[in-house]
């Protein structure tokens, strides 16, 4: 019975195996028209090894180590048939096998290069923004252990813009690291699996920040090379052996298809027989791997390259001797097709090409850019081949937020329109800050597509600080579920006014020094009183308005004032993000509290109202005639012109100012006794805020020279003090005190001695 169950189990296993191998589909030639455009050898670059190529938009980047000296990058338009002089990025000396380079492009079109310096056992990185220049050289990794000798490095950029770099040390598993700060720092390398890797570990970026890896590793139990692949789970690459048989398979590359499946292409080492060929394994989600034998028996060398272009066409390229010597083969599978075209080949008129890499771009055609090593008898050169096929019709729509405005106001929704609509999208999903996935969207999954449409801003964005930069990812699909790649647009959500506002006492000493010369102060304001006070008070029907809006990303547009929302005056345009002036109170100002509403608008359309209460106080405070308190002036022993003013028992009453009835003191010096300080025009009064809250307090460092002219002389100094309410109204009553200085000494500051 157990035997029968085992047999049944075996049959079940076989059934699963059979279903994992789909029937051979018919060839799809229809209109793809793959062909070789041209091939060329790059000049002045010898002794290269493992050149790499990457494309984004219509730009192509090709990297290599050249002349046993430098890591360089060439850049050209995707259809151009020549390369300009390369840019040298850094030192890559020594045997080219161990100073290899790799190039990749980011979702924004930026170019990223890593290279190895075998003498230093270091891995380096540089980035070139779109339309920018190459940034500084960054150290990715420094080998320190004796077992470390980084080789076969490869870079890829995730859809979230994060560069990933993988490499291996001979006889050890591969490692991977990544950077989230433009390459300034890199994560500690994570070891990938346990098998020692042979040749290059190859990365592939997928939607939603996904990253996959494929590599060749020896399997001791069968003494064969096998191909492993898997995706990053947030901590490690979860890889598995995807080889179709316990035989030698090697040199994979990987890509994500337009529908999100992970595709891995590789080769058999067998040159004949049922396993010989180029193979393609694919996996959707966590489904079982499906494997197809793409190319038939031949002698295959190097990687079998695969890449999905932005229109969803899958390109494959490999080097093989299928009866006409080693040639470069190329085939495509359009997005809507189920099979690859008959491969086209490139004549090997210049020599054998091997160790090739491929990347794709889509402009007028779907281009496949191939870079390989060409040996011409005495040295190796970079051989570039440009293949092309008919550009596929992708499903896609480039989102444009708020009609392309750079900044949007704080509104519950934004307008979303689309340009470059490809295919016939019927549904859309979106997500702020990351590509949408089945598990995470801000649209509650797929919703009906419309152009234009309004989409809500999530509360998380509305609660952000003003001027937060936001990126919206959208993804569209057709009725048959053909899904485009995620596309994005950026906008700054100006969630409010970011400005500093000062409203109140027109006599404040802290007013802006530069006034906006647009308003005149009413002529009927009274004179007299102190030039400082409590911000919430005024002794005239005027007020100070200061606005500093340089922190507002869209810019402060205007400011208007009124007693309330229904009486806001005509807006005053703001110049250079700032405004400062003394303005008449709008309407009649009554003694006591008066409401003032200040409305500030920015260029994004945000409007914010600020309310301020200003107390009109035109009545002087009164110093008690019966018990006004005492004043004692004491000179500082080290600097005699500085004095301490000690008050005790002060008694002041005021109709508006709370507490002790006064905001501060008004102080004047005199060398002679003054008969009536309140009317003597020779006194220069200076306001000082009174510390503490009680009627016993002191003020230090009062300068006995304040307000006096001429040279200071020893002798008696008279100090007069009046008391100020919040509006700066002074008491008529005063305190006075004298201090006699036997000598004049000034404060001294000791500076450090500077010697030459």
């Amino acid at each position: 019975m157990r035997r029968i169950l085992a047999i049944v189990g075996g049959l079940a296993s076989l059934t699963l195996l059979a279903t994992s191998l789909p029937l051979v589909p018919a060839l799809a030639q229809g209109g793809a028209n793959p062909r070789l455009i041209f091939q060329t050898t790059l000049p002045n670059a010898r002794q290269i090894k493992y050149p790499d190529v990457a494309a984004a938009g219509n730009q192509v980047y090709l990297s290599a180590n050249i002349n046993r000296a430098d890591a360089v990058v060439w850049q050209k338009n995707d259809s151009a048939q020549s390369f300009p002089v390369p840019t040298t990025l850094g030192a890559a000396p020594g045997q080219p096998d161990f100073s290899s380079t790799s190039v990749a492009t980011g979702p924004d079109g930026s170019a990223h290069v890593m290279w190895m310096n075998q003498d230093q056992r270091r891995v380096y990185y540089r980035k070139k923004p779109v339309n920018g220049t190459w940034g500084p050289q960054r150290l990715v990794y420094q080998a320190t252990r004796s077992t470390e000798f980084p080789v076969n490095g490869m870079i890829e950029v995730a859809s979230d813009g994060v560069p990933w770099i993988t490499w291996r040390d001979p006889d050890f598993p591969a490692k991977v690291t990544r950077s989230s700060d433009e390459g300034q720092t890199w994560t500690s390398p994570v070891t990938i699996g346990t098998n020692a890797v042979i040749n290059y570990p190859m990365l592939a970026a997928g939607p939603g920040g996904a990253m996959a890896i494929a590599f060749t590793a020896g399997v001791r139990s069968i003494d064969k090379l096998q191909v492993f692949a898997g995706a990053w789970n947030g901590s490690i690459f979860v890889t598995q052996n995807i080889s179709p048989a316990p035989d030698d398979f090697a040199d994979p590359t990987a890509t994500y298809s337009a529908d999100g499946a992970l595709l891995v292409s590789y080769r058999s080492e067998a040159t004949s027989g049922p396993l010989s060929g180029a193979w393609l394994s694919s996996r959707t989600g966590n489904d079982p791997w499906q494997t197809n034998r793409i190319g038939g028996p031949a002698e295959y060398k190097g990687t079998v390259n695969i890449d999905t272009d932005t229109a969803g066409t899958v390109h494959m390229q490999w080097n093989a001797n299928a009866g006409a010597g080693f040639r470069v083969y190329y085939t495509v599978r359009p997005r809507t097709a189920t099979a690859f075209t008959t491969p086209v080949d490139a004549p090997n008129d210049a020599g054998v090409i091997f160790n090739s890499r491929m990347d794709t771009s889509v402009s007028d055609l779907a281009y496949a850019h191939v870079a390989g090593e060409l040996f011409a008898g005495d040295s190796s050169f970079v051989r570039y081949l440009l293949f092309a096929a008919t550009a596929g019709v992708a499903v896609g729509a480039q989102p444009v937020i708020e009609n392309g405005e750079a900044i949007s106001e704080r509104e519950p929704t934004v307008t979303l329109s689309f340009t470059n609509v490809q295919g016939t999208p019927t549904q859309i999903r979106w997500r702020w800050g990351a590509e949408p996935t089945d598990a995470a969207t801000d649209s509650n999954g797929w919703v009906a597509f419309a152009n234009p449409m309004n989409i809500p801003l999530p509360a998380s964005i509305l609660e952000n600080a003003p001027c937060s930069a936001e990126r919206l990812f959208t993804q569209v699909r057709e009725a048959d579920n053909d899904t485009g790649v995620a596309q994005s647009d950026d906008i700054i959500i100006d969630t409010g006014i970011n400005a500093a506002l000062a409203v109140g006492n027109p006599n404040l000493s802290s007013k802006a020094r530069e006034f906006t010369p647009i308003q005149s102060v009413p002529a009927d304001v009274s004179s007299g009183g102190a030039s400082d006070g409590d911000p919430g008070y005024t002794r005239d029907p005027i007020y100070y308005l200061g606005l500093q809006g340089t922190g507002d990303c869209s810019g402060v547009k205007d400011v208007s004032v009124g007693r309330n929302t229904t009486s806001v005056n005509k807006a005053i345009l703001v110049s250079k993000e700032a405004f400062a002036n003394v303005l008449p109170y709008p309407g009649a100002m009554i003694p006591g509290p008066n409401q003032l509403l200040v409305r500030v608008s920015d260029l994004a359309g945000n409007v914010t109202d600020y309310t301020q209460t200003i107390i009109l106080d035109q009545v002087k405070p009164v110093l008690s005639a019966m018990s006004p308190g005492t004043l004692v002036v004491t000179s500082d022993a080290k600097a005699t012109i500085l004095a301490r003013l000690a008050f005790s028992g002060v008694s002041v009453t005021d109709d508006r100012y709370p507490g002790r009835g006064y905001w501060g003191v008004w102080v004047a010096n005199s060398r002679t006794e003054v008969a009536n300080p309140t009317t003597d025009s020779s006194l220069v009064w200076l306001p000082l805020k009174a510390p503490a809250t009680g009627n016993d307090f002191s003020i230090s460092n009062w300068s006995l020279a304040s307000g006096l002219s001429g040279a200071l002389q020893p002798g008696t100094y008279h100090v007069y003090v009046r008391f100020l309410d919040g509006a700066g109204n002074p008491t008529d009553g005063f305190l006075k005190a004298t201090v006699t200085l036997s000598q004049i000494t000034r404060p001294q500051v000791s500076l450090p001695v500077v010697r030459r």
């Binding site: 085992a6 047999i7 049944v8 075996g10 049959l11 076989l14 195996l17 191998l21 051979v24 589909p25 060839l27 045997q95 096998d97 080789v151 001979p170 042979i198 040749n199 060749t216 020896g218 090379l225 179709p244 048989a245 316990p246 090697a250 040199d251 080492e269 049922p274 396993l275 197809n292 034998r293 793409i294 190319g295 038939g296 031949a298 060398k301 190097g302 299928a322 009866g323 006409a324 010597g325 080693f326 083969y329 085939t331 099979a339 690859f340 008959t342 491969p343 086209v344 080949d345 210049a350 020599g351 054998v352 160790n355 090593e373 040996f375 011409a376 008898g377 005495d378 040295s379 190796s380």
Partner: protein, 251 residues
């Protein structure tokens, strides 16, 4: 009832047979893509016989009829390579073949040689027949001494196929301590691939003579000759080249 049992047994037998089949058999698939039709590849003809003119006292003769013949040879790489990238030479179908590199079997342009013989071999002629498929480099080594190929001393003659752009096509050189000094170089011609050629390097005293298909193609005199050493076959680790009928004779 009996029919049902028989059917069950047949099904079990079939299932057992399939279950026990090797995994690879179950994976057999017809390739999706067919390669373009190419003209038939020229057949590699029968191995040529060494020239009767090679006279002298035989020191060694290898026809590679036995795969075990490779045990008498040492394979060296003249560049630093990882173990997985060592050049691989093999004996198959009665020939010695350069078979790319270890591990994944990829071609590499590193220089490599298969050495044989004795360290005290002084004056001799080393001769080999070669047939190039797509390697493009063939050669011979004589009077090889040294433990490390990168610092070894030897004479080397190398010739490129005509299709290569590089020149010179032929170089006879003395390598001492890993540093090569050209004795003779010829801009051309090279050799014609996909044809058997007979290459011989004669070292007698300070005289060096190279013949290709019986014709002298290089001669040199070395005032400070290397004294003695092993002989060998030289090429690059790019695969695609066959050697046969290697022989060494003393004058």
């Amino acid at each position: 009832m009996l029919g049902g049992i028989a059917a069950l047994l047949a099904a079990v037998a079939l299932g057992l047979a399939l279950w026990q089949a090797p995994r690879g058999v179950a994976q057999e698939q017809q390739p999706i893509l067919e390669y373009p039709e190419y003209p038939p590849t020229p057949t590699i003809g029968a191995n040529p016989q060494p020239e009767a003119s090679l006279q002298g006292t035989p020191l060694l003769s290898a026809s590679f009829d036995d795969p075990a013949a490779l045990t008498a040879w040492e394979v060296v790489d003249f560049d630093f390579v990882l173990d997985e990238s060592r050049a691989v030479w093999g004996v198959a179908e009665g020939r010695l073949a350069q078979q790319n590199t270890a591990a994944a079997g990829n071609p590499s342009i590193q220089e490599t040689a298969a050495l044989t013989g004795a360290a005290d071999w002084a004056d001799y002629t080393a001769q080999v027949s070669f047939y190039d498929l797509d390697n493009g480099t063939a050669g011979l080594v004589a009077r090889y001494t040294g433990a490390d190929p990168r610092t070894a001393s030897y004479y080397r003659y190398r010739i490129l196929k005509n299709e290569y752009e590089a020149t010179p096509k032929q170089v006879l050189e003395k390598v001492q301590g890993g540093v090569a000094t050209t004795l003779v170089e010829q801009k051309g011609p090279g050799f014609t691939p996909r044809a058997w050629h007979v290459l011989a390097l004669r070292v007698v005293g300070n005289q060096l003579t190279v013949t290709l298909d019986g014709a002298v193609v290089a001669e040199a005199e070395d005032a400070t000759p290397l004294a003695a050493g092993r002989a060998g076959i030289y090429t690059r680790a790019m695969g695609g080249i066959l050697f046969d009928d290697f022989s060494v004779v003393a004058p």
